[in-house]
Structures are given as structure tokens and as C-alpha cells.
Assembly symmetry: C2
Homo-oligomer: 325 residues x 2
């Protein structure tokens, strides 16, 4: 019980960085895009130019996409949308796709359809973020809830907090035989419904709490914004932009970006578990200075790179899967 183990089992909560560059893309540093998989659902966060090629390159299931979240209306965060949607259309994509984005993105797609004479044939469920001035839930499905929160960039921009849906209670395996639990009773206990015939049995002998819901926080593009430390507090993974190092701090302030130092300070204030830096300026070919600047303030800092997949495992796995030993 409480056994924490790492094995080669793929996690069912992963974040794949498809683009970790900034306004001027470079080979190996595409503009921003991330593929987030939670449970059996797949989401895209930002969609810079070339995202559809990155999705193919890393063999991700493009046609199983449920929703796309766009942070803001800068070229390096949304220009891949018409190409991706066109390709989905050519592949006969039929599902409704949710698009959470500034309304200007919808206008851009409408104009694209008008100028090319091609409308997409699948339904796009539009959720505009313009009215979100603080933090609001903008999306929910069976795998997760997503909260959008206002960042502080040169134009309106939103971060996104992905939180998996709470897992059912876990049944103590030994209790099944001990109390002769039926299949129905097991389902009831998992859902938190107590059984009248066992009302004198303490709940902890029958069930265990599930692992706490895992969370992923996405924050780019933005100045440092400590007001959100509580919101993303304890996140399993935080992706925070670090367009510059301290050498270019003035430029970061002018353009509404963060330094590696600021990102690390925020990660520290928010007590997240892991910090990934990204959105690196094309000025930098060597990224070591970003790590050197951040790790003294937040040791668990990593550099994001195009193609890196981050597996987020449950905090603890209290039952050993059958056949594990």
C-alpha cells in the first residue's frame, strides 16, 4: 500500500511538446504546439505553423483529436490551424471538434474558408476565451476539466490548467472475498455509495482513496504572473515560457515575456512538481544558460524540446497490477 514504482508502463496522462520555439522558428524548434493525452482523449494546445507535420512525425493519432486550445492570436501560436483542419477534412474526420480560442481565431478561419471556397465538413464547437478576464472553466469531458486563466502578454492571452477527472474509489481486493461483495456492490462502493448490509464496517476496510487528480499547467506567452501561483499550486507539470535569460530581461519586460529566472521563481512559489521551460528565443542556440539560471531557484527544472514526451504518473499506485511480478 502506498508503493510508488516506476516501470515502463505508458502513462495515461502525457504531454508531448511539438514546438518549443518562439516568434521566429528554427530547425528543431517549431512554433508552439503540444499534444496532451489524458485517459483516452487527446487535445492540442496551440497550433503553430507545421503542427500537422509534427503530429505525423511523432505518430500521434490526429484523427482522435477532441479539442484544440489556442492561447492567443500571435502567428506562432495558431497559424497551423487551417492546414491541420484541412487535412482532417481530407481524412474524412467526422467528429465534432471543440476549439477554445480568441474569437479572432474563428474570424480568421471563416475568412480562410471564404477566400478558398472550402468550408470544413465536420462540426467545430467554438468556445471563445475573450470574456475570461480572470480564471474560468472552459471545457469538460469524461477525461478532464480545463480552466483558462488570463496571462499578461502584449495582447490578450490565456494559460490552460488541465485537471483529470477524479478517479473512482479503489476496492481493497481482500475485502471482496472477506465480505462476499457482488459485482453490483463493488460498483456502488467505487462510486462512494455505502452498503446498508455493511454499515458497521469502517469504509477504509472496503475502499481506498484514489490517487489525487493529476494536473498540467500551460503558461505561454506571459510576463511573470505570481497571482496564479495558487491556481496551479502543486501541478504535476508546469510548462512556463522562458523566451529569454536575464541578459535580455529588459527585452522580456518590453515584449511581455519571461526570463528563465522568473519562470523558476513562479514554479517555486506554486510548488509544482516539475517545471519545463520553452518558447526559447531564436537568439539562443545553446540553451544551457536557461538551466543554469533556473535550477538554483527551482531544481526540478527541465528544458523542453521538440518531440519530448512527458509522462505524468499517478502519485502513488496502491494496487499492484495483475501479472506485474
Amino acid at each position: 500500500v502506498g508503493l510508488l514504482y516506476f516501470c515502463s508502463m505508458a502513462s495515461d496522462f502525457t504531454v508531448r511538446f511539438l514546438g518549443t520555439g518562439s516568434a521566429i522558428p528554427m530547425p528543431g524548434r517549431h512554433p508552439t504546439a503540444q499534444w496532451v493525452s489524458i485517459g483516452e482523449r487527446h487535445y492540442l494546445v496551440d497550433c503553430g505553423e507545421g503542427t500537422q507535420m509534427q503530429i505525423r512525425k511523432f505518430h500521434l493519432p490526429m484523427q482522435r483529436l477532441s479539442a484544440i486550445f489556442i492561447s492567443h492570436m500571435h502567428a506562432d501560436h495558431f497559424l497551423g490551424l487551417p492546414g491541420l483542419l484541412s487535412t482532417l477534412d481530407l481524412l474524412d474526420f467526422k467528429k465534432p471538434l471543440t476549439l477554445v480560442a480568441p474569437a479572432a481565431v474563428f474570424a480568421y478561419l471563416d475568412d480562410y474558408a471564404k477566400n478558398t471556397g472550402n468550408a470544413f465538413r465536420f462540426p467545430i464547437h467554438r468556445i471563445p476565451t475573450d470574456a475570461v478576464r480572470q480564471a474560468e472553466p472552459v471545457f469538460e469531458d469524461k477525461s478532464c476539466t480545463v480552466t483558462a486563466f488570463a496571462l499578461h502578454h502584449s495582447i490578450d492571452c490565456h494559460g490552460f490548467l488541465f485537471k483529470e477527472q477524479p478517479k473512482p474509489l479503489k476496492i481493497r481486493r481482500e475485502s471482496i472475498a472477506e465480505f462476499g461483495l457482488s459485482h453490483l456492490e463493488i460498483q456502488q462502493l467505487k462510486a462512494g455509495i455505502s452498503l446498508s448490509r455493511l454499515e458497521n464496517v469502517p469504509a477504509h476496510l472496503l475502499t481506498m482513496a484514489p490517487a489525487p487528480p493529476r494536473t498540467y499547467a500551460f503558461m505561454t506567452d506571459t510576463r511573470p504572473l505570481f497571482k496564479w501561483a495558487d491556481l496551479v499550486s502543486g501541478a504535476d507539470v508546469l510548462y512556463h515560457e522562458a523566451t529569454f535569460t536575464l541578459t535580455w530581461k529588459e527585452r522580456a519586460d518590453q515584449t511581455g515575456h519571461s526570463t528563465a529566472e522568473a519562470a523558476a521563481k513562479f514554479a517555486n512559489a506554486a510548488k509544482v512538481k516539475q517545471l519545463y521551460l520553452g518558447h526559447f528565443s531564436s537568439r539562443y542556440s545553446d540553451l544551457t544558460p536557461f538551466l543554469e539560471e533556473a535550477t538554483p531557484l527551482f531544481p526540478n527544472t527541465f528544458l523542453a524540446f521538440d518531440g519530448l514526451e512527458v509522462d505524468i504518473y499517478p502519485e502513488s499506485i496502491t494496487e499492484i497490477p495483475e501479472g506485474y511480478f
Copy 2:
């Protein structure tokens, strides 16, 4: 005289394929884009999504671009434009840029600027191709002339024929001493002006004809269109689409595309020197069948691939450059 040689000297007329895929791009087969360099000028033909990343990947001088030619308004031929132009703007590009394209492309760029609130700060000289129903010159500078010609696709589409400007006459080196030619006289002879003091000397003792102007023909997307065999007759290089092999001929006919067989028949009719096939459907991972289909009909056929640079050398080099031996 008349010596034909191949050496490692880079040509001043090159075509670099940046994308040889079609509607659905794949890793290693980006959507259509080509970088054409003639003399000291640089041009882009089509600009599919990801073109700016391909330009960087192959270290091409993005900021020396003179003109962009867009064949038609399908996503895989123009979606890279706003990203490329944005990056040029961020790099403080100042030159006027010529954009030869269907008017719908200009409308798309205007809408992009409206929706993002960002206009490009450098002048774009727009040349719409919509009125070109047959073949017309659409561009000229000191390096080349470009003729647009109407192709036969599912929407309006144009091919482009690049022809370098005629070179000056060549002076026979031995005549300089023999006739005591001054620098001014040499310039006059090169320009085809005869010298009165040498009116009895046959022209061929003083000068030689330059190599004939080199030409490059770009034909995608299109059904086979034999009416243009004369126009592109003898082209040094022809890039012709071959989206399909004969197995999918019906699909080619339906969608306004060509098979490898048709491209080879056209190359044969036009007596071009080299044929490059491209715009391959994502159905094909192995491209051998394209070559097998084309070479019996036109032996000098090659498969284009992303990154391939084709050097077009003058037909003959009649003077050996100093220091060559």
C-alpha cells in the same frame, strides 16, 4: 571551345525543392515550395505550410528574397505565406517583395492582417494572375523573365516558366591582344555594337555567342496539358506533378492531377532535358513505381525530394575560368 565540363563550381541557376508532398503532408514530404536562384536573385515558387522552416533548414538567404509565385489557392500551396511574411517582418525586412498570385491570396493576407491587427511593414507589390487565361509574362528583373501559363486543375492554377536574361556576347580572349581592344571597345562588342575601326573583321573572330538562356518550367497542380509542350520546349529542367501512378489514374482524372506516365509523355513531347516528378500522394511511401512508370517513356526522369538542389549549368562553357587548371 565548346568544351562541356562538370565541376564542383556551384551554378548560378539552381532549383531547391523544399516540399514535394501533396494535399496531406508527411514527414519528409512537405507541401509544395521551391527556392529558385538565378544570378544574384532569389525566388520562391509556392509556399506551403512550413516553408519558412524549410528555408532555414537548408540555410537559404530568406532575407534576399525578391519575389514569390503562387500557383493556386489550395492549402498545400500557400498556407506558409503569413508565417514567412511575419518572420521577414520580425527580421526587419525592408525591400519591396513581389507577390505573383491569385487575387484570393491577397484577400487572405489582408484578412490575416485584419484579424491579427498586424500589417507587414515592408511593401508587397501584388501581381494578380487571375486574368492570365493562356500564357503571359508576369515578372521581369535583371536576372530573369517569368511567364505564367494556365494549367488545368480543379480550380484556376498557373504554371511558371523561368527564363534567364540573355547573357552578353563573349569576347575571344586572343582577340584582345591581336586587335588591341580597349576596355570600352570590349564592353561595346559584348553588347553587340560593332566597332567601325574593325568593320572588316568578321564578328566571329572577335566574339562568340553566349550560352543560350537557361529555363526552368514549374507545372503543378494539373492534368496533363500537351498544349504547353511548345512553350516549355527544350527546358533545362521541368518539374511536373505526378500525384499518382497509373493504378490511380481515375482518381487523377477526377481530381485534376497527373500520373507519372502522363508527366513523362509531356516531357517527351516538350523535349525537355530533365524531368523531376513531385507532388506525390501520401498514399505512396515507396516512390519506385513512379520512376518505373516514367523512365521507359522519358529516360531522364528523376524523383524530386525535400531538400534536393538541382544545379542548371549553361549548355556549354566556352572559356575556361582562370585558375581552373
